[in-house]
Homo-oligomer: 277 residues x 2
């Protein structure tokens, strides 16, 4: 097969490297940065470039750009993709991109499937891309309701070759609701955590819990701002729910209410045990 | 030397195992649970028991009990410890225990040093104790102002033998202020995080960030209630600071204010980079 990779940063670069390491597919790359293209060629992560001629060869294209750039790319080449081409994006939010691209795909005759690889690093750029970034990771996909089974099978086969051990199919709505909880809230909390005035003076006191809570505090603010705004309804719900819950602990402490505090902690602990079962 | 270990759970059990693995010191144990004593003997973690006779032999005693039980134990044997005995507790909060025990120690002639090993696991009990739990870990100690240098050297030597690579000396006040941020807040946030109604339905979607944020959600509510209430002033400050910061992200999302959201994220990200330098 000929597989296109659009956006050769951490996510796209890791797709390209994994495909070149694990398969004999021809890999074509696209990036607005000439440096990323050159690096990808230098590290043998791509066999050639996507342009308006070669794009017609692609059987599957993974698009790993910011949300707006993803739909811009797909619009730009909408009439060039072959009818059997399957395009999978890698964006963190699925409702908006799927609504837009399901329509463009239907109008132009190719297939669009929403995708979200559940892997990443707190760095970005091709130089951090790894051929094993997706090893044993989960890929969530949100196909259109009229997707054909053989298309799913074809995408699934390539995803397994890239390293994913688990492909989860869901709807864009469910994806966005859950991702607000598992990923977006985690990034907001981590980013807010380090704003305590005591954050700068804790050297030598940092327990594992602090390290875990703040691992994802360092982030790409441009990308996350776009992702958060696209999912603001779900993320606002999660932040406000957490604030309300945190306030209960603070209130129990202010009231020196040992029983209430213990009940709050036991409830959280029990829920975690239940979830991990 | 003869070293006493009081409380043979995760923390005390790991001290005992490390001492028996790494040194020739005689290790005496104490626990109100006969099961813990028997297990410790069975696994060769102690050479004998502490009672009102053998307690007089101890050169250093590490007390790894809940805060209230720690001061109860020290009061109970206050007249039995030899004058050269150094007692180090392992509790998570230092102001209250130090205030109490510095006084008892002065009155009775032995030495009390506050201690806090910065290591742990999300489980408790002797069966989870490991002889390498403290390998390369940090031990914070809060000695009395009139501590002698040779006493510090003696404690430091044993702590290095147990595996600690770094011994930090500070005051009880500074300890409690920083630990509220690095450890207590992390446990509260983690425990509150899993209370979202979406926490139970995320299976298959759990990113690394979710796993990190909730690792310490499961906790011993009895122990943490005691620790939190002893440090309520500092912990209330940290929770309320985090709530105020989280609210800013929520407000920016509600206002769909992209610039504000981006500035909030960049600020957190920059702080994290600065701290990690």
């Amino acid at each position: 097969m000929v597989i296109g990779i659009v956006g050769l940063g951490l996510i796209g670069g890791s797709f390209a490297k994994a495909l070149k390491s694990n398969t004999n597919h021809k890999v074509l790359g696209y990036d607005i940065s000439q440096k990323a293209i050159l690096e990808s060629k230098l590290y043998n992560a791509i066999d050639g470039e996507i342009d308006e001629n070669t794009v017609t060869e692609c059987d599957i294209i993974f698009v790993a750009l910011y949300p707006q750039a993803t739909s811009d790319f797909i619009k730009m080449f909408a009439d060039k993709f072959k009818k059997s081409c399957i395009i999978v994006d890698c964006g963190g939010i699925k409702r908006k991109i799927c609504e837009e691209c399901f329509k463009i795909a239907k109008d132009s005759g190719f297939t669009f499937i929403g995708g979200h690889p559940m892997a990443g690093r707190q760095y970005s750029g091709f130089k951090y891309a790894k051929d094993n970034l997706y090893k044993n990771a989960i890929m969530i996909i949100t196909p259109p309701s009229d997707v054909k089974l053989e298309q799913l099978a074809s995408v699934q086969k390539v995803l397994k070759e890239v390293g994913f051990s688990n492909i989860q199919i869901t709807t864009p709505e469910e994806h966005d609701r859950i991702i607000a909880f598992t990923s977006q809230l985690a990034h907001v909390v981590s980013n807010a955590y380090v704003k305590s005035p005591n954050a700068t003076v804790h050297k030598g006191f940092s327990a594992g819990s602090y390290k875990d809570l703040t691992r994802v505090a360092r982030l790409n603010e441009n990308m996350w701002t776009e992702l958060f705004l696209e999912n603001s309804d779900n993320l606002i719900f999660e932040i406000d729910t957490l604030i309300a819950n945190l306030k209960e602990y603070s209130d129990a402490l202010k009231e020196k209410d040992s029983d209430k505090l213990k009940a709050l902690l036991k409830d959280g602990s029990d829920r975690k045990k239940q979830i991990d079962k």
